[in-house]
């Protein structure tokens, strides 16, 4: 059977090339940009992002200023019941000269720091061990199962975690972990109902661990085989080689993972407002184990919980102050991450 041959199209006269369709022209136009044009356009876009961030900081701070101005450094301090102070701001007189701003936000700041730091520390340790297991020790069927599951977990919306916490973990904690005696021991200060610090920390760390595992696994994978082989050839077992060579060389990635996870933990609002007890209370470590069951409410959760009050000017300004603190924290976090990574870069290849 002879091969099917397409008829050869007669050569078109060069005089009248058909105009290409509009869409094709647009795309081909983009593809044929000069470097100069691409550079300028992308540069402008990047600058626009910078300007946007700058405007956002200025806007948030200008809105938040009255709250800071009226309280001074006491804003960051403790004293009184922060929930009652928020109520007073909300219910205060509506004439601008009589606005109430009095706020001692310490319990909220303390709650934010507690949940974030504890969640990130627990999550980071777990993530590091899990990543080492996945990369170096897991048999390949387990590895093939674990990796997609981890990536899936990283994508679960936080409200789902919050719901599970609310419906499963909080009742469990309330019924089985907090005895009546413990509830009575602090009944005159705060009511324990299952939601609180420990549930918030546990769910937060579960929420931020998968993304850290993913980042660290990818970094450990990219450790040159020559390094681990070289360590093995010196009579070092896999476990020691993992810690002394691989984990050591991916420290920048570990810092990056921790920064990303901390940012997520700082900004987490919905889930924490669902499971943290949502009460402006500063858990007291002196209470022993009860400390873990006492309610907290981080800044982001506070903003979410009170967003219905934004129509009241001083209240809105107070919420902006919370936002400003979060914004500064994340800026400091980025700077901290950068500072932590900088000395580590010295050891890497050029």
């Amino acid at each position: 059977m002879p091969p099917a041959t397409a008829p050869i199209a007669p050569r078109r006269p060069p005089a009248a090339p058909a105009p290409p369709p509009r869409r094709a022209k647009l795309l081909s136009g983009l593809g044929s940009w000069s470097d100069r044009r691409a550079e300028l356009t992308l540069g402008a876009l990047a600058c626009a992002v910078l300007v946007l961030i700058g405007l956002m900081v200025v806007f948030v701070f200008s809105k938040a200023w009255p709250s800071f101005w009226h309280n001074g450094f006491a804003w960051f301090g403790g004293g009184g019941d922060v929930d009652r102070q928020l109520d007073n701001i909300y219910n205060g007189p509506s004439r601008p000269s009589e606005y109430v701003y009095k706020l001692h936000a310490w319990p909220l700041l303390y709650g934010t720091a507690l949940t974030t730091i504890a969640g990130v520390v627990i999550g980071l340790v777990t993530a590091l061990l899990a990543a080492v297991f996945i990369v170096e020790f897991a048999p390949s069927p387990i590895r093939r199962l674990l990796e997609p599951v981890v990536r899936l977990l990283a994508a679960v919306p936080s409200v789902v975690y919050g719901l599970i916490g609310l419906l499963v973990i909080i009742p469990f904690v309330n019924n089985h972990l907090i005895g009546e005696g413990r509830k009575e021991s602090v009944a005159y200060v705060v009511q324990l109902n299952g939601s609180g610090l420990i549930v918030a920390i546990v769910i937060l760390s579960i929420m931020i661990t998968p993304i850290m595992i993913s980042i660290i696994v990818d970094a450990l994978r990219s450790v040159p085989q020559g390094w681990t082989e070289g360590a093995a050839a010196l009579g070092v077992n896999r476990w020691r080689a993992m810690w002394t060579i691989s984990v050591r060389s991916v420290r920048p990635a570990i810092v990056a993972a921790a920064v990303l996870a901390t940012a997520r933990a700082l900004g987490e609002a919905i889930m924490l407002s669902m499971v943290s007890g949502s009460r402006g209370f500063a858990p007291n470590p002196l209470d022993g184990l009860t400390f873990l069951f006492e309610p907290v409410r981080p800044l982001a959760a506070t903003i979410v919980d009170h967003s219905e009050g934004l129509s009241v000017t001083p209240f809105a300004q107070t919420l902006y102050a919370f936002a400003a603190v979060l914004l500064v924290s994340s800026i400091l976090l980025s700077l901290g991450g950068w500072a932590a990574k900088r000395p580590l870069a010295r050891w890497s290849a050029r």
Binding site: G226, E229, G230, A231, A233, G235, W347
Partner: protein, 307 residues
């Protein structure tokens, strides 16, 4: 000018020898006598015993009837070889002939490849390496790789790495410093790095990195040093330095070097083993293998008609 054209004419008239690799050709194998009775393979030429003068050097390792396969594909077949202290053994052969696999099996690095299987015996000082703890074996049989692989730390920490990891108690910097210096001196790197041992090792040049890797291997005072094409990524000057080093080292450690650079094997080796398609074709003193090869394949390889 005239001569050049005439040579070109002659070259055009007589075609160069065809580079032909006959895969199913029965190889003519010349192996060292494996305890007298050879491999029991009737098709092979009789094993040649070595003269007493050859065995003056002390035998440290012995490979017997070693066969290594990756996922069933045989990479090294039935190899028997001695490794002696006081001389350099060079494994030569074309790419993919199993010389690196053979080298890596000497300190059981092939076990890092999950699909690798091994038959036959490897002995270190008469003791089967499978009976030794693998970490202890690798401390006695050190290895330098084809690509320089210094760790991402300072020069000092690189050399001290093995010392720190191998001690039961981590030695302090003061105890380590003289041993690090000695290792760097033996590797011929001391003069170049002595002024700043805190420098990151990855900022050194390729030749310096490879010498650092040699220093790292020497720091733990191994008994056998395995070198896997240590100069293939290096410039001629670094190569020269490392070859001088290899020749100097052979009195203290048994050196095995894999190379497919024949000139290098000729320069450094005392004994040469020629491998082809996983089999050991010829083993003998370097002068004999290069000057008067007994097997046809060796002759063809060292004369450059394939490889």
């Amino acid at each position: 000018m005239d001569e050049v054209t005439s040579t070109a004419h002659r070259a055009a008239a007589v075609p160069p020898p065809v580079r032909r690799i006959v895969l199913d050709d029965q190889p003519t194998v010349v192996t060292p006598g494996a305890n007298g009775n050879g491999n029991g393979n009737g098709t092979r030429t009789p094993a040649v015993r070595f003269a007493a003068s050859d065995t003056a050097a002390r035998e440290r390792m012995r490979v017997e009837e070693l066969t290594i396969a990756y996922a069933g594909r045989v990479a090294v077949r039935d190899v028997t070889l001695p490794v002696r202290q006081g001389e350099v053994l060079s494994l030569i052969g074309p790419s993919g002939c199993g010389k690196t696999t053979l080298l890596r099996s000497l300190n059981r690095l092939t076990e890092l490849t999950p699909t690798a299987t091994r038959g036959g015996r490897i002995a270190l000082d008469g003791q089967d390496v499978d009976e030794l703890d693998v970490t202890l074996l690798r401390r006695r049989v050190a290895m330098v790789f084809q690509q320089p692989n210094p760790f991402p730390m300072s020069i000092f920490d690189n050399v001290a790495y093995g010392l720190r990891e191998q001690g039961t108690k981590r030695p302090g910097k003061r105890d380590l410093a003289p041993r690090v210096e000695e290792a760097l001196r033996r590797a011929g790197l001391w003069d170049e790095v002595a002024d700043d041992l805190g420098r990151p090792a990855l900022r050194l040049s390729g030749g310096q990195q490879q010498r650092l890797c040699i220093a790292r291997a020497l720091a733990v005072e191994p008994e056998v040093l395995l070198l896997d094409e240590p100069c293939s990524a290096l410039d001629p000057r670094s190569t020269q330095t490392i070859e001088d080093l290899i020749v100097r080292l052979r009195a203290e450690v048994a050196v095995v070097i894999v190379t497919h650079n024949l000139q290098q094997a000729f320069r450094v080796a005392d004994h040469v083993a020629f491998m082809y398609l996983g089999e050991l074709v010829e083993y003998g003193p370097a002068a004999d293998v290069f000057g008067n090869p007994r097997a046809r394949r060796t002759r063809e390889y060292v004369s450059g008609s394939f490889g």
